[in-house]
């Protein structure tokens, strides 16, 4: 298990290889469909993503207690492919180092990751309770009124958020490799 701590160093991120298990500690910003469209339409980035991480996640957050603090109930990953049209430009403009989600992304995103020094971390779909527990503090939230709670940009401070590097900065994608290998294996069974 490789530990990654925010801010994420470009050299350390470029050294990661597809298949590496990672544990992330520090700041994660969530962003999904509305966020990507907003940025693509010229909206200003609500936070500084330089050497940071973007998490494709629509969490369930509730405000409780007298102080009105936010608490995360479930925060598993959402499917990343919907952001394919926007991600290369986002990676180029933002300086982001980690994209966290599920299911992987396309060849254009892979190329942008290689060029700018970024990797894709696969979180485990369905593990909403565990990832909520990894969020130790909700440090803030952006675009909540504009996008609603499920689409807002949440500022999560996480400890030991686990995943697997599935697309690295060398141009490798486990998803593409597994899809090809399984197609060959299936042809062998026929």
């Amino acid at each position: 298990m490789i530990t990654l701590t925010y801010p994420f160093d470009e050299k350390a991120v470029r050294a990661l290889k597809a298949g590496d298990a990672v544990s992330i500690t520090g700041r994660l910003y969530t962003g999904r469909d509305k966020f990507h469209k907003f940025v693509a339409d010229g909206g200003a980035l609500p936070v500084d993503f330089t050497d940071g991480a973007l998490y494709h996640c629509g969490p369930v957050c509730v405000r409780d207690g007298a102080d009105g603090a936010w608490r995360v109930v479930a925060a598993g990953p959402t499917t990343s492919v919907r952001e394919n049209p926007y991600e290369p430009a986002f990676i180029a403009a933002s300086g982001v180092r980690l994209i966290v989600g599920k299911g992987g992304m396309d060849a254009a995103t892979r190329a942008a990751m290689k060029r700018h020094g970024c990797v894709y971390v696969q979180a485990v779909g369905g593990a909403g309770a565990l990832y909520a527990a990894a969020v130790r503090r909700v440090a803030g939230v952006s675009l909540l009124d504009e996008f609603g709670a499920a689409e807002a940009v949440w500022h999560f401070d996480v400890v030991d958020f686990r995943g697997v590097v599935a697309m690295d900065a060398h141009g490798r994608s486990l998803f593409a490799e597994v899809a090809e290998a399984s197609a060959r294996a299936l042809a062998g069974l026929r």
């Binding site: 298990a21 109930v73 299911g103 309770a129 697997v164 299936l186």
Partner: protein, 280 residues
């Protein structure tokens, strides 16, 4: 009665059945230590333990709710009672607000509407009168599919070899996108609607063979075993990152067909196979 249904919903949403947990643990032992498959399975098992301890949903997609009610309980467990229990469980946070009006796009905040939750009254046998609940998330439901034989592209004819070709094609196409390792419910034959209903009902069968009454004869049992072995040989692995465990189980049943039709229906269930049965 309503309280029993509410606690049943909470338990179903927050804990997996023992046979599914056992299959996940066995899979974790099979995979190479420290590899991505083992890491994913460890994460899944840790998540399940935490959700069970807290009584909170183990996955944020609390899914489509389908109740299977012994028809002899029709008067005690009415659709109205089930709806009240679902509304209450939603209010308590055991279920996500997860029901969208397909025309207006608005949320039905108590998860209740015409036909939601789904309630099937089924024939009962023996003295025990049971209610079973299945929660199935959208990511897995999106992966289910139906084939019509013959299928020239697959080289699949109208026989069990053709059925095998369809099921293995489905596994290869689905990869890890339905949150693998998954469970397949398969229906051979039937019309299109019964195909999906029967395939989904196979997901209620326990994974351990000793406890499973089966969905068909010895031939289908052999097919189940062969399909499980071959699907896992494709190397897709947990969440599609590679590994020995692509499926936890395959359950096949058959229905008659008309001469003109031969459907093969595959219902994909994610690892978060949330089902529970209570006796009333």
């Amino acid at each position: 009665m309503q309280d029993r249904l509410v606690s049943m919903i909470r338990e179903t949403s927050s804990s997996l059945p023992e046979d599914v947990l056992a299959a996940l643990r066995a899979a974790a032992r099979r995979e190479a230590r420290g590899g991505s498959a083992a890491v994913v399975l460890r994460t899944i098992l840790d998540n399940c333990a935490l959700a069970k301890r807290n009584g909170t949903p183990l996955c944020q997609d609390t899914g489509t709710l389908t109740f299977f009610v012994d028809e002899r309980l029709r008067r005690r467990v009415t659709p109205a009672l089930v709806r009240r229990a679902v509304a209450c469980a939603t209010e308590c946070g055991f279920l996500r607000r997860n029901t969208i009006d397909a025309v207006t796009g608005r949320s039905c905040d108590d998860n209740c509407a015409e036909g939601a939750p789904v309630v099937h009254y089924v024939a009962g046998d023996g003295p025990a009168r049971r209610v079973t609940l299945l929660l199935k998330g959208g990511g897995s439901e999106n992966m289910s599919r139906q084939y019509s034989l013959p299928d020239a592209a697959l080289g699949a004819g109208r026989d069990l070899a053709g059925v095998r070709a369809c099921v293995l094609d489905a596994v290869q196409k689905i990869q890890g996108y339905g949150c693998a390792p998954g469970i397949l419910g398969v229906c051979v034959g039937g019309d299109r609607a019964t195909g999906y209903a029967v395939a989904k009902a196979q997901l209620l069968r326990p994974l351990d063979a000793a406890a499973d009454a089966g969905g068909g004869g010895a031939e289908l049992r052999r097919l189940e075993k062969a399909l499980l072995r071959e699907a896992n040989a494709l190397g897709i692995g947990p969440m599609g990152l590679g590994g020995k465990t692509t499926l936890l189980g395959v359950k096949v049943a058959a229905r008659t067909r008309v001469p003109a039709s031969f459907f093969v229906t595959v219902a994909y269930m994610c690892w978060a196979c949330r089902r529970r049965t209570i006796e009333l």
